[in-house]
């Protein structure tokens, strides 16, 4: 962490986005994480993605659980409401918040301890329900705040800083998300912002449960030789299957690609995910194939990254419930209370 306060004055020539904000307006408090922490890069990517998407910062609600990763929502989008909930339970709190107001943009930030251990169940169920959110897992395979214990995403055979070998099979959150019905599934790496920022942009635009598992090395407890979540290891085994550009609705398409090289996936809101496939045989709209593909490459020791699956016909919880279009938290007694007349009828039926 740094002790230097962020200057409050912005340079007058800083570029503004379409809603009149500079990139600095999307920043938050100064990070208290270790210098070099992967999580800070993810925060920076979130800031960049939101700025590029022309989102008004206060229209975002950012929620997290407990752990190093869950501290990060304090370090971006300082004018957004944030909620640092309890360990592993961010998904339920976010679900409730989403039920209350469907108009905000929901960002859930969690870690591998939070999502793959104590919150494994909530992670799975929030995907099942199709809560319209972007779920970012800052995955480092280790418990940082309690100083270096293995997490459930640590690979079998991986070595801890203290020299212990992990004997348990790892949980692959990407595979689980696919299985549980997430409609946007991606894996990124905190060290590859060029890949991560468009992933976050596309995930935010996605209407439904979007999850990005971001490998985010822990500089203090899991960046040594023998770890499979270190910067070096992830770089060496990263197998990006897709590169994507994200085009918001009605944005002019300016870049030309050769025919056959790109696939456009149009989402509900009209936005387009333009995929440049690195692997010719990869189809990110084929859920079954994506699951097999991830497993096949995992067996080869490769870490498949990029947009792994997207369902352009995704649905979300509010649509499934059939709730009104206006946020439930704006309804007043006139709309909610059936009134004395209806109660008299109910009374009459109870005699």
């Amino acid at each position: 962490m740094t002790y230097l306060a962020k200057p409050k004055l912005h340079h007058p020539t800083l570029a503004k986005n379409k809603v009149g904000y500079t990139r600095r307006d999307y920043e938050g408090k100064i990070s208290t994480l270790c210098a070099g922490c992967g999580h800070d890069s993810i925060s920076a990517a979130i800031i960049q993605a939101c700025w590029e998407l022309d989102i008004q910062p206060h229209r975002v609600a950012k929620l997290s659980g407990i752990g190093c990763s869950s501290k990060t929502p304090d370090y971006f989008l300082g004018n957004s409401h944030g909620f640092n909930t309890v360990h592993g339970r961010m998904p339920s709190v976010l679900t409730g918040a989403y039920l209350a107001n469907r108009d905000l943009i929901y960002l859930g930030v969690s870690g591998d301890g939070d999502s793959a251990s104590i919150g494994f169940g909530q992670f799975a169920h929030v995907m099942r329900r199709g809560v319209n959110m972007t779920y970012i897992v800052e995955n480092n395979g280790v418990y940082g705040l309690t100083k270096g214990q293995f997490s459930a995403t640590a690979d079998k055979g991986s070595k801890s800083k203290r020299g212990q070998i992990n004997n348990d099979a790892p949980i692959d959150l990407v595979s689980l998300a696919l299985l549980m019905g997430a409609t946007f599934v991606a894996r990124g790496f905190s060290g590859d912002k060029a890949q991560l920022i468009p992933l976050i942009r596309a995930a935010i635009a996605h209407q439904g449960a979007a999850v990005i598992d971001v490998l985010s090395p822990c500089i203090a407890f899991n960046n040594h030789a023998g770890s499979t979540k270190s910067y070096d290891y992830v770089r060496a085994h990263n197998e990006a299957v897709t590169r994507l550009d994200f085009l918001p609705p009605r944005e002019e398409i300016t870049v030309d690609y050769d025919e056959g090289e790109v696939t456009d996936v149009r989402q509900h809101d009209g936005s387009i995910i333009r995929l440049r496939k690195r692997h010719a045989d990869y189809d990110p709209t084929d859920r079954t194939r994506a699951m097999t593909y991830i497993q096949e490459h995992a067996a080869l020791g490769e870490l498949v990254t990029g947009l792994l699956y997207v369902d352009p016909e995704s649905s979300d919880l509010h649509r499934q419930i059939g709730s009104v279009d206006v946020p439930l938290n704006t309804l007043a007694a006139a709309e909610l209370c059936p009134g004395a007349g209806a109660l008299d009828k109910i009374n009459a039926g109870l005699r």
Binding site: A61, H81, T95, A100, Q122, I321, S323, D325
Partner: protein, 612 residues
């Protein structure tokens, strides 16, 4: 042989097999008596089972309107050989036992001090029906017919109930009518008259007959709850189910057909309370319904909601604990678990409804209180109120009543330069202002957390910030005293040295016991506590009596502990009267226990006819 003779004042208990459709038949009988203008109080005493285990249904006929459980059985209807011996034992001397005489009586001790009424029920049923399901269902209706005849219940009332229930299903209606007639005719021709009878009165008035869970669901609907998150658990599951049933009819946008509510059946209680907290944080009125084990699971979140000051309503339908305990039995044993739920120093607002009317009223009020006080509020019902139909005042709602949304800072106020500190005591009542997420582009945003913070919601582990916050929370709890429902005093006819404190489902049995004690010359002032935190008047009440009985349906005397802890009461001044076997407390139990204790306290009669 002695014969119990009673008009409109007796207890009939049905011993049945779970899953045989008996509860609806028994309820039919109860409703018919109600329609004759005579109050009844039914209680379903059922096992944690879907089919096969013994189940009982008690109908108390009570012209005086004593709706608690009296204790004792005047007439037993034995339809379950499994429990024969115990059922025979339970009948009061001079009482009646109605049984199926198709087969020889089960072996076991018979009694010569009760009247056996045999009817070849199986034989009659099997002769009339070929289909096995019909045999099972109509056997119930046939015994209802026979009992109606024996007890003088107007068959026309039962037929009217059939007509309401089977509107548009003429075939079913006819079949039920026939079965009823079959039972009545047999009884008329073959059974001797008994000493129990129902006579038409006008003692029901405009009262309604409803279970507390339906009432609580309606309270949430009328109180403006838009988010319901829950996990199935006996005896609370019928609350969200009733909420859904009524909301589907009454909470739909007439133009778009969109629902003005959201219900999620969560994966567990951790998630259901998490959703309620999330919705409350985001400005929607949200509730969950659960029972003791759910409260245990929710405790971490309850602590978060308390400390982060998020409105939440929890309707706790208490059952027998600890652990799985007795899931289909009733207790008031979550008082302390709820009052202090979570680690750390927490205190929560509890409301104690005593009947369905108050379940309705207090559930709606809980939603107001939760937002006014920005804290979790518990409605402490129990299985006895929640799952039994009870005669009560009709639900009431004043048109134009607005919801109290509490201190919410608006965009306009923020633009007007208001000093927004999320945890700042700007009004001196301990209640801070909050903003809904998304209110203002640059002002009013804050980071909610369970960790300590200063008055402006900035992370802080400074001792001074922490103590400021805890002191403010204490002030807020003081403020709550003036907002929660006040206790209700039932004064004795004569000045009384003894007091009694009770709450919740004990209420009807207690009122009956007070009358019975007064008949014995024991006069007691009674205070029904309706909420925690306790108002100072409760301590005053205790101070003005030599001794105060605290009547509860738990083993530990939990409300007594809470009174000692929170109202500074000398424990020696409180005498616990505890009923904790899982069945609803009875008037006879309370009367006996208090009378015994009064005599043990060696009280000399002040006058000939007055003992205390």
């Amino acid at each position: 042989m002695q014969k119990i003779e009673a008009v409109n004042d007796f207890v009939v208990k049905f011993a049945n097999i779970n899953g045989s459709g008996s509860a609806s038949a028994n309820e039919l009988l109860a409703r018919a008596i109600l329609r004759m203008g005579v109050p009844v109080s039914p209680r379903n005493i059922f096992p944690s089972n879907i089919q096969g285990l013994p189940t009982w249904f008690e109908v108390r006929v009570t012209e005086n309107g004593y709706l608690g459980r009296r204790g004792g059985v005047d007439m037993m209807v034995t339809m379950n050989p499994q429990t024969w011996e115990q059922d025979v034992r339970e009948v009061e001397p001079g009482g009646y036992l109605f049984h199926d005489s198709s087969k020889p009586l089960p072996r076991g001790k018979l009694r010569d001090d009760i009247h056996f009424i045999g009817m070849p029920l199986t034989e009659i049923t099997n002769n009339a029906y070929d289909d096995s399901r019909q045999r099972q269902l109509f056997k119930n209706i046939i015994y209802v017919g026979a009992l109606a005849n024996l007890l003088g219940i107007d068959a026309a009332e039962i037929e009217k109930l059939f007509a309401e229930q089977y509107k548009g299903k003429e075939k079913l209606l006819d079949l039920n009518r026939q079965a009823l007639a079959l039972g009545r005719e047999y009884a008329r021709e073959n059974l001797k008259a008994i000493g129990l009878s129902v006579e038409r009165r006008d003692r029901v008035g405009d009262k309604i007959f409803v279970d507390g869970n339906t009432a609580a669901a309606l309270g949430c609907l009328y109180g403006g709850a838009t988010v319901c998150a829950w996990y199935p658990i006996t005896p609370s599951s019928s609350i969200p189910e009733a909420f859904q049933k009524y909301a589907e009819k009454l909470r739909v946008d007439p133009d778009s057909g969109g629902r003005r509510y959201a219900i999620v059946q969560a994966e567990d209680e951790l998630a259901s309370i998490g959703m309620v907290v999330g919705a409350g944080w985001n400005g929607a009125r949200a509730f969950t319904a659960t029972s003791g084990p759910g409260i245990s699971l929710m405790s971490e979140f309850i602590g978060l909601a308390y400390f982060a000051e998020i409105p939440a309503v929890l309707i706790n339908i208490q059952r027998g604990g600890p652990s799985t305990g007795m899931p289909t039995r009733t207790q008031q044993s979550d008082i302390l678990a709820c009052a202090y739920a979570s680690h750390g120093d927490t205190r929560h607002v509890l409301l104690f409804p005593d009947d369905p009317y108050e379940c309705f009223e207090m559930s709606a009020q809980a939603l107001d209180l939760a937002e006014r006080l920005q804290t979790p509020v518990f409605v402490m019902s129990d299985l006895d109120i929640g799952m039994n139909q009870r005669l009560c005042r009709p639900f009431a709602w004043e048109d134009g009543r607005e919801y109290d949304r509490g201190k919410v800072m608006t965009r306009e106020a923020l633009d007007g330069g208001a000093d927004f500190g999320r945890y700042l005591d700007s009004d001196g009542d301990g209640i801070p202002y909050r903003t809904y997420p998304g209110t203002h582009p640059t002002k009013g945003g804050y980071f909610t957390r369970g960790t300590s913070k200063n008055a402006y919601a900035i992370y802080s582990e400074a001792g001074a910030d922490y103590t400021y916050n805890m002191q403010r929370l204490l002030r807020k709890f003081e403020t709550a005293k003036s907002l929660v429902p006040w206790p209700v005093l039932t004064a004795a006819k004569y000045p009384a040295r003894f007091g009694a404190i009770f709450y919740g489902s004990t209420s009807p049995a207690m009122h009956e016991a007070l009358d019975a004690l007064a008949d014995q010359g024991i006069y007691i002032n009674a205070l029904r506590i309706r909420a925690f935190p306790f108002q100072n008047e409760i301590a005053d009440f205790i101070a003005s009596h030599t001794r105060v009985f605290v009547i509860e349906q738990n083993f530990d005397g939990q409300l007594k502990t809470l009174l000692v802890n929170e109202a500074g009461i000398n424990p020696a001044s409180l005498i616990p009267v505890l009923h904790y076997d899982g069945t609803p407390i009875t008037a006879r139990f309370i009367t006996r226990e208090i009378a015994e204790r009064v005599s043990r306290l060696n009280v000399r009669p002040l006058r000939e006819d007055r003992v205390a």
